[in-house]
Symmetry: C2
DNA sequence: CACGATCCATTGAAGAAGTCAATTATTGAC
DNA sequence: GTCAATAATTGACTTCTTCAATGGATCGTG
């Protein structure tokens, strides 16, 4: 006689069946929360967080972004970018160079030290990415990337 | 004579080609930032945000979550759940009921007013979801949902 | 049944992150 | 040259996050 098995499935299982679990915005938020936590933990050994890693990545990429461009791309307030760069510049990972084409603007470039740190941090970031992809069948990897890129408003508008 | 077309492609275009734009964690963060902003804007007319909407959704779903379960599911600190519920309870949208099975725990249930508001708010949330899906080909919708569900750690462990 | 360990909800404090208006320097349009 | 618009910065303010401590309830073990 199975004893009425109320099961009490750890709550989590119960909530997993709720309508909210079908809400894409929620799923996105939760996936992001998990990934962000993993990324911050992995980057901590380099004295970075996801945010500062992103800034360093763009600086090391020789794309020479202005602070305004950084703010827009990272979806931050310009004043937050100031603080973020201050932190990296204090560690000599990055330099502000006034844009010769527009002396109001600063362009961000990585120092050699910054580039070296970025290479190392990238490995940690890659590990997180692999962890994220581990649950997804390999043949879906490119598709996931593409879907996220469009959801992030960054897919190519077909040139 | 096309004048050397330095193009200066709005910066955004330039950054879009950076290595960071290929980083899944970053894409997830950016997609979430955009979606969250849209959701908060859409829910504002109901006096809700994404967070409070999520709590209300679970309450209205008769899944009777405890506060601890809410915290775990929404990836929040238990103390944040307290504040969130306080706000909803003040507006008489939800009620705390002590769990008869464990008098330490509160179980969250929606009032009739709360259910009615949720129905309305759900429409707004749905509009955001449609906006998110608009850029994705319809045949990929279910796949996107599935991918996000697994990235969010909520995919069924195959029963 | 009593004891101690554990768990739930709550509070409060400290710090990080986000929002916003005001300021300075520079640019571009006219 | 003047004037509106823009880039970066600062400061004030709010919200979010994180953490430790507390009181009440439960559970396991003896």
């Amino acid at each position: 006689m199975s004893p009425t098995e109320k099961t009490r499935p750890t709550g989590h299982d119960r909530l997993r069946g709720s309508v909210l679990a079908g809400d894409l915005s929620f799923l996105l938020a939760r996936a992001n929360a998990l990934t962000l936590a993993a990324a911050n933990a992995a980057l901590a050994e380099h004295g970075l967080k996801a945010r500062s890693y992103s800034v360093l990545a763009l600086a090391a990429d020789d794309v020479r972004p202005t602070q305004r461009e950084l703010a827009e791309f990272l979806r931050l307030d310009p004043s937050q970018v100031v603080a973020l760069i201050d932190g990296l510049e204090r560690r000599q990972l990055v330099e502000r160079r006034t844009d010769p084409a527009d002396r109001r603007a600063n362009v961000l470039v990585a120092t050699d030290v910054g580039r070296a740190l970025f290479i190392r941090a990238q490995e940690s970031a890659r590990a997180v990415e692999l962890g994220l992809l581990a649950t997804v069948p390999p043949e879906d990897h490119e598709r996931l990337a593409h879907l996220l890129r469009t959801a992030a408003g960054l897919s190519r508008p077909l040139p």
